[in-house]
């Protein structure tokens, strides 16, 4: 059954490619079925603990082993929930020519992501990472505008360069240890060779995650893609490489990286400040949202050093809660931006006066997403910030605590800028295209989820428990 989670989207992608007329139907069916199978998997992992599944019965190091623990389940669920939401949205949003390409590519991407989260060896991780990267680049080009092609080209170069650096690191590991299985490599000792490998892999992953100063490709790519694609890229794709970073640093290398992690935190802090500043300066909604992603990814990086110093799992929980809350709220925000684009024909902030009157549901969606992104209660973002700041203060890392709190204020600053314009009295005579109510409600549902996960923390945390890294390696 675990293998189905990977196969379903891939089979769906092929079907969509062969028979574009039923692509929408296939896409939605795959989305629902994938969510169901991931739900089953998570129930199983919660019942029996983390487990590995040798594909075709071949054991490591010969065969491919799938590995599902709390962290993997968490990411899979995040993917599936946002993926279902975006799929529903896309089925009403895309018109004929773009839809033909969207469904096969998106399902391929989804299959790649699921494969990535279930892989337990460095080479499979590389392959899935490539699938994710290449399909993501292809999706950016769907809007067929010249600027999107430029953005996609830049994205492609960054993705390939990142993959190469990662692959080099993998090769170094293999040369020294003759295995690539994460399970066998657990608790690597920090010899110069393995450290160099880690540095290379980390560099590649930072580039793919668009952590400052390697963010250069993200804003344009995320802003010029069609709205559902932007949602997928910002909510899901960047999280995949971050997940791998987390696995490597936490599960495979473990202790001994505390000092090096401070460097990552420094990058994270810079991302938070720089991304916020840029977001504040943007004049277009989608670019603003894209720079907000640059800033929000800073939190994820800042969380890493907090996991090494101190004894509690607060930072780990905080980072993953942040990933979840950000995925939901950012997807909602990009979908809302897509609707704005549809209604107004542009997304210039200065032209969105009176949006609260024209598109009340979408404005409310933006507001809810803003609440979570700014880490204001009650929301998933607040819970994440609570944990992260707790971990920072608990371990005496005051600077990071203050920066994270300030980051919340910055997010509020640039997101409320949008709301201020939206709440201004409408100018009369604006001709708007109608927006389907159903699409508005899908975006709203995602934003509501970002709020609601802040109220059901204990239940959600139970998902993460199997194979908690701080209780020892898996």
């Amino acid at each position: 059954m675990i293998a189905w989670i990977i196969w379903l989207p891939f089979v769906g992608a092929v079907l969509c490619y062969l028979e574009p007329r039923i692509a929408r139907l296939v896409g939605l069916a795959v989305a629902v079925l994938t969510l169901i199978s991931i739900g089953q998997l998570s129930a199983e992992v919660m019942r029996n603990g983390a487990y590995s599944y040798p594909m075709g019965g071949w054991l490591a190091p010969l065969g491919i082993t799938l590995w599902a623990d709390g962290l993997a389940v968490w990411m899979l669920l995040l993917n599936a929930v946002v993926g279902l939401g975006v799929s529903l949205f896309a089925s009403g949003y895309f018109k004929a020519p773009a839809a033909k390409h969207f469904w096969p590519l998106w399902l391929l991407l989804w299959g790649g992501l699921n494969g990535l989260y279930l892989s337990a060896d460095l080479f499979n991780l590389f392959v899935t990472l490539e699938v994710v990267g290449l399909t993501a680049v292809a999706l950016v080009t769907l809007s067929r505008e010249r600027i999107a092609l430029t953005a996609a080209m830049r994205y492609l170069l960054a993705a390939i360069f990142g993959s190469l650096a990662y692959l080099l690191g993998v090769a170094l590991i293999y040369a020294q240890h003759s295995t690539l299985s994460l399970l066998l490599l657990a608790d690597l000792n920090t010899t110069p060779g393995t450290l160099l490998a880690l540095a290379l892999m980390t560099f590649g992953l930072l580039l793919k995650t668009a952590i400052f100063p390697f963010h250069f490709w993200l804003p344009l790519a995320h802003a010029s893609a069609p709205a559902p694609v932007s949602a997928l890229l910002s909510a899901l794709v960047v999280k995949a490489s971050y997940y791998l970073l987390l696995r490597l640093w936490l599960f495979t290398y473990g202790d001994g990286l505390a000092a090096a992690a401070q460097v990552l935190a420094l990058l994270g802090a810079a991302a938070l400040l720089y991304g916020s500043l840029q977001a504040f300066r943007q004049r277009r909604l989608k670019l603003l949202v894209a720079y907000s992603t640059v800033a929000q990814l800073g939190y994820l990086c800042l969380a890493l050093p907090l996991m090494f110093i101190g004894t509690s799992a607060a930072a780990y929980h905080g980072a993953l809660y942040h990933a979840l809350a950000h995925a939901l709220s950012k997807a909602a925000l990009f979908l809302a931006a897509g609707l704005v684009l549809q209604a107004y024909g542009h997304d210039r902030l200065s032209g969105l006066r009176g949006m609260a009157t024209h598109l009340p549901i979408t404005t409310f969606t933006v507001a809810l997403a803003a609440v979570s992104l700014a880490g204001l209660p009650p929301s998933g973002g607040f819970i994440a910030k609570w944990w992260l700041v707790t971990a920072a203060i608990d371990s005496g890392q005051w600077v990071w605590a203050l920066i994270m709190l300030a980051g919340g204020l910055f997010s509020a600053l640039y997101l409320f800028r949008v709301l201020v314009i939206a709440l201004l009295e409408p100018r009369s005579g604006a001709a708007l295209h109608p927006v389907p109510r159903g699409l508005e409600l899908i975006a709203l549902a995602l934003a509501l989820l970002a709020i609601l996960i802040g109220l059901r923390t204990p239940e959600l945390l139970a998902l993460l428990a199997p194979g908690l890294p701080l209780g020892g390696p898996p």
């Binding site: 209660p377 009650p378 609570w386 608990d394 201020v420 204990p458």
Partner: protein, 491 residues
């Protein structure tokens, strides 16, 4: 899971559900639902209140984070605030339906209005700091759309300044709470405080945390120099200024200060490190500053806003005095000021809506046109000055006694001076309205006084502000309740 568990939650849900439903409704149905929701809340609060006074323990505890609960409790100290908010919500809703008749975006307005009440109730009922933080920030967020409701540039600027003050305050509060939690674990509000064991080992940290915790409430309670947002926020519609910026928001701040001093640090710790002394001077300075500023305002609502700045610090003053009589004065002023100030705002709204009068210099002779509204205004103005037999007199009397009790006779001088200043900025309004000849540019008479939906709440709160003074010692009165609470805090 039983009635005691559900009641505090139901108090919140009754207004929250009302708010969420209102977003989707229009017209008469919306008004009906709104008033029903307010009435249900009122009934639930009454049941909870009577229960709490008879010793029942209404407590909702829901796990929010591992080791941290969302904790709601109906306790006497919160009960005063909850009851005030519930009664005034009902009256203000009636008023607002009349006031906003025919204006756009009303569903949005009333929806957020109800959510503000939910947040206020949550603050009043919260049993630990985490719960307090959540509702405190929710109140900030839910108030924002109401401040900017007119949708003008001026309103947007006021909203931006409001958010700047409150969100920065909120971040400081969050830092303080998390810092305290890392030192002391989850801190529940407990009479006398729970921090005594840490007093020797972490004195510096605890003093810093005290000011972080006080900071955000001080912004909402508009202590100088954190008051800048309040006069600007008067750009909002009158019902917002009346309920939120005279009662819910500012009192949430004052209430927060009470909770920190009484139930987190405790009277002894607050006194030992001179923390209460700082608060006392801060409050005294704000009382004088607010009154002096109010004198200068010609805009009626802004004059009322500065009066709020001044009067809110009476509460902080009472808290900081730490003696039983001072605490009684502070606690009871929370209710008395709320009832009195909302009357003034209602009356000012009636002037604005029926006569188009926004400035003090224009009220000449308006008493003949709006006799009932101006009568209510006059009674409430006497309450603000602190003349007997109004409710305002009772609070000031106890505050003065509280000052003497602590050996601080200058407090009496301060209160007298402030009373004179209050008279100096309220009596001219009253004098002009009743004794000056009417201006010729008044619009033609459309009927006697304001529409009934606006007049009834004005008269009700005006009468109440008088009755609370006349019958201050009857059972279940705010004063008697305050005496009981104060006895528990500082015997």
């Amino acid at each position: 899971m039983n009635w005691d568990f559900w009641l505090p939650l139901l108090v919140l849900l009754s207004s929250l559900a009302t708010g969420l439903l209102i977003f989707t409704l229009q017209g008469r149905l919306r008004n009906l639902l709104n008033l029903t929701g307010a009435a249900v809340t009122l009934v639930l609060v009454a049941i909870g209140g009577v229960g709490a006074l008879r010793g029942a323990e209404h407590e909702t505890r829901l796990p929010l984070l591992p080791g941290h609960d969302l904790l709601l409790r109906i306790e006497p100290i919160g009960l005063m605030f909850v009851a005030l908010a519930a009664v005034l919500w009902f009256l203000t809703t009636l008023y607002a339906i009349g006031y906003l008749e025919g204006s756009p975006n009303r569903s949005r307005f009333f929806g957020f209005f109800s959510i503000c009440i939910t947040a206020t109730m949550g603050i009043a009922l919260s049993g630990n700091l985490l719960t307090f933080v959540i509702f405190f920030e929710l109140l900030t967020l839910a108030t924002y759309p109401l401040v900017v409701h007119p949708g003008t540039r001026e309103a947007m600027r006021a909203g931006a300044i409001y958010l700047t003050y409150t969100l920065i305050g909120g971040a400081a509060l969050l830092l303080g709470v998390i810092w305290l939690y890392t030192l002391a674990g989850p801190v529940e509000f407990t009479r006398g405080g729970t921090l005594a064991p840490l007093a020797d080992s972490h004195q510096g940290a605890l003093i810093a945390i005290f000011f972080l915790l006080i900071g955000a409430p001080a912004v909402k309670a508009a202590l100088v120099p954190l008051h800048g947002w309040l006069p600007l926020a008067m750009v909002a519609p009158v019902p917002v200024s009346a309920l939120l910026h005279a009662v819910a928001v500012v009192k949430a701040g004052a209430f927060g200060i009470m909770r920190v001093v009484f139930d987190v640090y405790g009277v002894e710790l607050s006194a030992a490190w001179g923390l209460s002394g700082v608060l006392l001077l801060w409050a005294a300075a704000t009382i004088l500053y607010g009154s002096l500023q109010a004198l200068k305002q010609d805009d009626l609502k802004r004059r009322l806003a500065y009066s709020t700045v001044s009067q809110l610090s009476y509460i902080a003053l009472g808290v900081a005095l730490l003696g039983p009589l001072g605490i009684i004065g502070g606690l009871v002023h929370l209710v008395h000021h709320g009832i009195t100030k909302i009357t003034l705002f209602f009356a000012a709204g009636n002037l604005a809506e029926t006569m188009g009068i926004y400035r003090v210099s224009k009220v000449d002779g308006v008493g003949r046109r709006l006799p009932w509204s101006m009568t209510a205004f006059t009674v409430a103005a006497m309450g603000m000055i602190g003349l007997p037999p109004t409710a305002g007199f009772i609070s000031k009397w106890y505050l003065a006694l509280g000052g003497l009790e602590q050996g601080l006779p200058w407090i009496v001088g301060l209160l007298v001076l402030s009373g004179l200043l209050n008279a100096a900025y309220f009596l001219p309004v009253v004098y002009r309205a009743w004794f000056m000849p009417p201006k010729p540019e008044f619009p033609a008479a459309t009927g006697q006084d304001a529409p009934w939906r606006m007049l009834v709440p004005t008269l009700a709160t005006g009468l109440l502000s008088l009755l609370l003074g006349l019958f201050a010692f009857s059972p279940y009165s705010p004063l008697v309740l305050a005496q009981e609470i104060a006895a528990g805090i500082s015997p």
